[in-house]
C-alpha cells in the first residue's frame, strides 16, 4: 500500500529536521512533489533553503524525518543519478582549471567506470546537453572566461547530461542576462513536459508567479505550502520574511 503511494511522488520529504552542531537549521519540513511539477522555494537568507537542498542531495544528514526520491531511499536515488543540483554562481570556484565540456562531462561520472573514461554515449550526451543550452561555441572555454549566464547554463547542461529526473536549482535567475533567463524558462517548460520535477529557490517574486505550480515558503520550517495561486499571498510572504515586505528586504535588485 505504502510503496504505491510513494510511487506517485518524485520527492517526498517527511518532517525532516537538520541541525549543525546542535543549531537547528530546519525542522519539521514536509514537501511532496510529483512528476512535472515546478515548485518555488522561498525564504530569507538563512531560512534553510540551502539546507533543504543539502538534505535532498544527501549532503547533510537528517536528525529526524525521512526522504524518499522516486519512492527509493536517498542512497538508491544517488546511485540512480536521480537528483541533479545546479549551484549558485557564487558557490563555484571560477578559477578552477576546467572548461564547459569538462563540467558537463561531470554529469556523466555516476554512470561511468571507475576511471571515468567517457564512452561514445557519454560524449554524445554531453554534446547534446551543451547544444541544448546554446553553448556549443564555448565548449572548450575555461569556466573563468564565461559570463554569469553562461556559467549557469553550463551547470544546467550538466544536469541535462546527467539525465536526472529531479532538478534542484539554487537561485537560477540570479545574476544572469536576459538571453539566459529566456533560455532557462524555455528549458523549464521542456523539463516539465518531459516529466522532470523542479525545485528552485529564488528571491524574485515575479519568477515564482510565472513558473511555479507550487510554492514552499520557509523560515526554518514550512510557513506555507501549496498551489502558487492560493499560497503566494502578501500575508504569507510577509510572515515568511519575518514581518517585513520582501521588496524592503531585497531592494531594487529583485
Amino acid at each position: 500500500m505504502k510503496s504505491m503511494e510513494f510511487e506517485k511522488y518524485r520527492i517526498e520529504a517527511e518532517n525532516i529536521c537538520v541541525d549543525y552542531n546542535g543549531k537547528v537549521a530546519l525542522y519539521d519540513a514536509t514537501l511532496r512533489l510529483k512528476a512535472g511539477q515546478i515548485c518555488g522555494l522561498v525564504g530569507m537568507n538563512g531560512a534553510g533553503k540551502t539546507t533543504f537542498f543539502n538534505a535532498l542531495t544527501g549532503f547533510v544528514n537528517l536528525s529526524k524525518g525521512k526522504i524518499r526520491i522516486n519512492g527509493e531511499t536517498l542512497k538508491t536515488s544517488q546511485k540512480d543519478q536521480a537528483v541533479a543540483y545546479v549551484p549558485q554562481n557564487e558557490g563555484i570556484d571560477a578559477d578552477f582549471p576546467v572548461n564547459v565540456w569538462d563540467i558537463v562531462m561531470m554529469g556523466r561520472y555516476g554512470s561511468m567506470n571507475i576511471f571515468r573514461s567517457p564512452r561514445e554515449s557519454d560524449i554524445q550526451a554531453v554534446k547534446n546537453a551543451i547544444e541544448r543550452v546554446d553553448l556549443f561555441d564555448y565548449s572548450f572555454t575555461p569556466i573563468g572566461n564565461l559570463s554569469g549566464g553562461q556559467r549557469k547554463r553550463t551547470f544546467l547542461a550538466r544536469a541535462i547530461a546527467q539525465r536526472a529526473s529531479i532538478l534542484l536549482l539554487d537561485e537560477p535567475f540570479a545574476g544572469v542576462d536576459i538571453r539566459t533567463e529566456k533560455l532557462i524558462s524555455e528549458l523549464f517548460i521542456q523539463f516539465k513536459n518531459e516529466g522532470k520535477t523542479i525545485l528552485l529557490s529564488t528571491h524574485d517574486m515575479i519568477h515564482v508567479r510565472e513558473f511555479c505550480d507550487l510554492v514552499l515558503l520557509i523560515n526554518k520550517t514550512v510557513v506555507a505550502y501549496g498551489d502558487t495561486s492560493e499560497v503566494f499571498t502578501p500575508e504569507n510572504i510577509t510572515s515568511t520574511f519575518g514581518g517585513m515586505s520582501p521588496d524592503f528586504l531585497f531592494g531594487p535588485e529583485s
Binding site: N54, D102, Y109, G110, F115, P142
Partner: protein
C-alpha cells in the same frame, strides 16, 4: 682539468656528478620524490589544502620517531600520525568555536613538539637535523626500496582516482549527489598526503617537504586553465627543480634540500612575473591596453 674552473665544459658539468654512485641514487630518489609531491601538489592547490599539507608534514614527525623506536617501517608511523592529526583537526573544529586555520596551527605544532621531545628522550640514533632538513645524499638502501614503493603507490592511487579527486576538489556536492563516496576521496587524498610527507621527509626534510607540496602546484596554476596540464606542469617543474637543485648542490657545495626548493621558488617567481596570461606583467599590459 688543470684546476681551471672556467673551462669546465657542459659535458663534464653534467657527467662528473653522476660518476658517483651516491649522486646517481640521490638524483633518482629526489626526482622520484619531488615528482610525487608535484603531482599531489596539483590537487592540494585546487583543494585549498596548502596549510593542511604544512600540518600533515609536521605532524608525521612523532610517528616517525615512534616507528623507529618500536622497529616498524617509518611510513606506517607517519601514516598513523598524519591521518590522526587531520582527524583531530576535524574533531576540534567540529566541537569548538575555534576557526579552522587556528586549529590546524594548534594541532600541528603540538604534534611537532611531541616529535622533538620524543627524539630527545627515546632515541639518540635519529639525528633531528636529518629529519628537519633531509639527507638526500645518504638515504640507506632499505629506505630507497620503501621510498620507491610508496611513491609508486601514491602515483597509482592518484592516477586511478584522478577525475573523482578533481570533481571532489571542484564540486563535492555534485559528487555526493551522484553517489560518489566523498569521504573516501577525502581520506584518500589525506593518505596520499601523509605518504608523500614521509618520503619527502627523507629527501628534503620536514621543513622543505611543505614547499615541494605547495610550490609546483602554485606555479602550474599560473600557467594553465586545463586540469591535465596543471598536473603535467606541476610534475615537470618538480623534476627540473630536483635536477638543477642537486647539480647546484654538488657544484656549489650547498644543502641539496634547500637548493631544490630554492629552484622551485625561482621557477614560481618566473611564472609569477612572466606567465602568458596570469603573470603580473601580462596583467599590467591588459590593464593599460583597456584604458
Amino acid at each position: 682539468m688543470d684546476g681551471s674552473f672556467l673551462t669546465i665544459d657542459i659535458n663534464s658539468f653534467i657527467t662528473e656528478p653522476i660518476a658517483h654512485e651516491f649522486m646517481r641514487k640521490a638524483i633518482l630518489i629526489s626526482t622520484l620524490i619531488t615528482s610525487v609531491c608535484g603531482l599531489l601538489s596539483s590537487f592540494l592547490t585546487l583543494k585549498g589544502w596548502a596549510l593542511m599539507g604544512d600540518a600533515v608534514s609536521h605532524a608525521v614527525m612523532p610517528g616517525v620517531v615512534v616507528a623507529y623506536a618500536i622497529g616498524v617501517p617509518l611510513s606506517i608511523g607517519a601514516f598513523v600520525f598524519g591521518v590522526g592529526s587531520v582527524a583531530l583537526i576535524g574533531f576540534i573544529k567540529h566541537k569548538s568555536r575555534i576557526k579552522e586555520d587556528t586549529v590546524i596551527g594548534l594541532v600541528f605544532t603540538g604534534f611537532f613538539a611531541l616529535g622533538i621531545v620524543l627524539i630527545s628522550k627515546i632515541t639518540s640514533d635519529i639525528d633531528l637535523m636529518h629529519i628537519l632538513y633531509g639527507t638526500p645524499l645518504g638515504i640507506p638502501l632499505s629506505d630507497v626500496k620503501q621510498t620507491i614503493f610508496i611513491s609508486l603507490l601514491v602515483v597509482l592511487l592518484l592516477s586511478i582516482f584522478r577525475k573523482d579527486l578533481m570533481l571532489y576538489c571542484f564540486d563535492p556536492r555534485h559528487a555526493k549527489t551522484i553517489g560518489i563516496n566523498v569521504s573516501f576521496l577525502h581520506y584518500l587524498l589525506l593518505t596520499c598526503l601523509s605518504l608523500a610527507a614521509v618520503v619527502g621527509l627523507q629527501a628534503v626534510g620536514i621543513v622543505l617537504v611543505v614547499a615541494m607540496l605547495i610550490t609546483p602546484g602554485a606555479t602550474a596554476y599560473l600557467l594553465t586553465d586545463k586540469f591535465d596540464e596543471l598536473s603535467i606542469i606541476s610534475v615537470l617543474s618538480s623534476i627540473i627543480s630536483s635536477l638543477i637543485g642537486i647539480y647546484l648542490s654538488y657544484w656549489l657545495d650547498i644543502a641539496p634540500g634547500g637548493s631544490i626548493v630554492l629552484v622551485q621558488t625561482f621557477i614560481f617567481l618566473f611564472a609569477f612575473l612572466f606567465a602568458p596570461r596570469y603573470g603580473i606583467f601580462k596583467v599590467k599590459q591588459l590593464l593599460s591596453s583597456s584604458k
